[in-house]
């Protein structure tokens, strides 16, 4: 098969940029990438064939600088741009500029991006093809009075949602008419600030649903297939943390119904390339929520259970190649689970904790895949997402996948200067009975969080004791002054350090 392009430009960073480079390499395509000045030592820069500094650390001046990126692509004769996820991946204006410059945007068309980016328009489109959305309005609410009427009709509790964007921003749960007016005002303010669009629509608030999404692929001829589902209910503040495929509550009949619904929505929005249709599931019913018109963070679990490389498919489909597979060819085999590894401090309010990685060892072995953007010696910059890597496991059964994840997490070493990760947090979940039984919904983490954090705090304290004892016993307490220069030590402190000017390190020295 002819290779789709000679050269593509990856307009992203971190683990996803590395992922796209891998896919391009396998297709024999040369790959260029961009980086901000904070990312000079980033892994994606080291792995790309060509790398170009695009601006200062602030995303607006670098990873979001549309014109700079397109100009660069033209200059280096890249034929296509892969936007990754986040950043410009769902920006219709960017897709338009790319298309206007006769470059290929690896994703859906600008028109589709506009349509599905407007959450109300997307819902209308779904409804028009018979795909039921969450009960609610299909037009924005005009006023508080209008809103109160609508909410009354739908029945409390209701969810106020901005039409202009997602990610949990501006979303408010309202449980009674008394709460409505102020919630509405706040929601509008937040929506305007984040999306420049004050439109709010109202949906029934489904209590503790499960979040199940369907991966789709579509070619330029309008042929669409679905690649099974992903269960993404383990979320913290609407941010996904653990995803799995298949979903523990899925059966073949439900999968077909949801898959067909996803295809209908894709066709109605003239979808091309890879995308995800998100649903909320409760008590046997599923409701259309929105379309994610991009490659998703959690795409790897689908790749492991279907054997299909979604990023390679994206590249080939965007070059105009036809979708070769038929729906019947797509099989779900085994079980895959992903744990997102963030550099954050769970016992410190999940504050981001970037820093220099002093020791790094990735797990491997059977059924373990790690998509990482970091390495030993790398200084994690503070300007971006705390997601540093993903551990994705596969097993023949869900039990095996969970056992593999426990093993992989226990073998994953990430230690650094002030760097903390959520690996111990994940360990707790993968040992938790409820998770192991597959009985959970989107309320799982908010219910467990306190328990997990108090467990982790106890563990930290215990380890602090033990570490202190160890250092003291091995006479390492004074290691600080191993550096021989006496000048470093202030005069009035000298009496403390008088014995420690030069130390010859034995086996510790590597």
């Amino acid at each position: 098969m002819e290779k789709p392009f000679n050269k593509i430009l990856v307009a992203n960073r971190g683990e996803i940029a590395v992922r796209i480079i891998s896919a391009a390499r396998e297709l024999g395509i040369s790959v260029a990438t961009i980086y901000s000045s904070a990312d000079r030592e980033a892994l994606h820069v080291k792995l790309a064939d060509e790398a170009y500094e695009i601006g200062p650390p602030e995303p607006l001046k670098s990873y979001l600088a549309m014109d700079k990126i397109v100009d660069l692509a033209l200059k280096i004769k890249a034929e296509a741009i892969h936007p990754g996820y986040g950043f410009l991946s769902e920006n219709p204006r960017f897709a338009e500029i790319v298309e206007k410059n006769n470059l290929v945007f690896i994703g859906p068309s600008a028109k589709t991006l506009s349509l599905v980016g407007d959450k109300i328009a997307a819902k209308r489109t779904a409804k028009a093809v018979g795909v039921k959305g969450i009960p609610g309005t299909l037009k924005p609410v005009d006023s508080i009075e209008d809103g109160l009427n609508v909410a009354e009709q739908i029945g409390y509790p209701v969810m106020l949602k901005p039409a202009g964007g997602g990610g949990g921003i501006g979303m408010k749960i309202v449980r009674s008419p008394q709460e409505f007016p102020s919630a509405f005002e706040v929601s509008q303010r937040e929506a305007t600030a984040a999306f420049g669009d004050p439109r709010i629509y109202i949906e029934k608030c489904l209590e503790n649903p499960r979040h199940i999404e369907i991966q789709i692929l579509a070619d330029i001829h309008g042929k669409v297939v679905y690649l099974g589902e992903r269960e993404c209910s383990i979320q913290r503040r609407h941010q996904k943390l653990i995803e799995e495929s298949p979903s523990p509550i899925m059966n073949q009949e439900l999968r077909e119904r949801m898959g067909k619904a996803a295809i209908k929505v894709a066709k109605a929005t003239k979808y091309r390339n890879a995308g995800t249709v998100e649903f909320l599931y409760k008590n046997g019913d599923f409701y259309f929520m929105e379309v994610n018109a991009r490659l998703q963070v959690e795409h790897g679990v689908t790749e492991l259970v279907t054997g299909i490389d979604i990023v390679k498919q994206q590249i080939m489909l965007s070059a105009g190649q036809e979708l070769e597979m038929e729906q019947d060819d797509i099989e779900i085999r085994g079980w895959a689970i992903e744990a997102r590894i963030n550099c954050e401090d769970p016992t410190g309010g999940f504050a981001p904790s970037p820093g220099k990685i002093l020791m790094y060892h990735e797990p491997g072995g059977p059924g373990v895949r790690v998509d990482s953007g970091v390495y030993e010696g790398y200084d994690i910059p503070r300007h971006y997402d705390p997601l540093i890597s993903k551990v994705i496991v596969w097993g023949l059964t869900r039990e095996e996948a969970i056992a593999r994840m426990r093993r992989a997490l226990s073998e994953y070493i990430i230690v650094g200067d002030g760097v903390k990760t959520n690996i111990p947090f994940h360990m707790f979940v993968f040992n938790d009975k409820e998770f192991i039984r597959g009985i959970y919904d989107t309320s799982y983490l908010s219910g467990k969080q306190d328990e997990i954090i108090s467990y982790l705090s106890e563990l930290e304290r215990k380890h602090a004791f033990i570490a202190a004892y160890t250092l003291y016993k091995k006479n390492l307490m004074a290691v600080k002054t191993i550096k021989p220069s006496i000048e470093n030590i202030p005069e009035n402190m000298w009496w403390k350090y008088s014995g420690l000017v030069s130390l010859v390190k034995p086996w510790y020295k590597k």
């Binding site: 002093l358 570490a467 390492l476 290691v479 600080k480």
Partner: protein, 167 residues
Amino acid sequence: MSPEKGKRFKFELNGTTYIIEIKGNDIKLLPDKSTSKIDLVKEFEDGFIIKTSGKHHNIKIDRIIDDKIILSIDGYYHVAHIEEAVLTGGETGIDISKNIIVAPLSGKVTKIYVAAGQAVNKGERIIAIESMKMENIISSPKNAKVKEIRVGEGSTVSKGDILVILE
């Protein structure tokens, strides 16, 4: 004789700072009142097996990078960093001044480079102590004269012992 005071250390583990007080095998995490007792079950060159609160733990020191120590406790890896060693005055029983050179660790005196009455410059070698196949050479903190040498070559010393007095 004042009651035995613990040694206090301020150290950082994975970015969190702790103040620890150690007295023999008892460790206290200040400002808590409770103490933990740690029993050494087995010692290796690069770590131990210890028992505390009824549980065994396996500790290994992996490496030292500058002033950071990477160690693992039951397979969990940590980075420790010493902020300062706060030696309480009660330990040596003497008013500590910068003229007194104490043993930074327990070991054996292998070499004494100076004699009483000798003038030394800042940075010149005074004494060497060997411990765990590791040699510590202590140099003079300032331009001074050696007033008194309290140990001899071959002496076994404990951490905190006075070795040499300057003036």
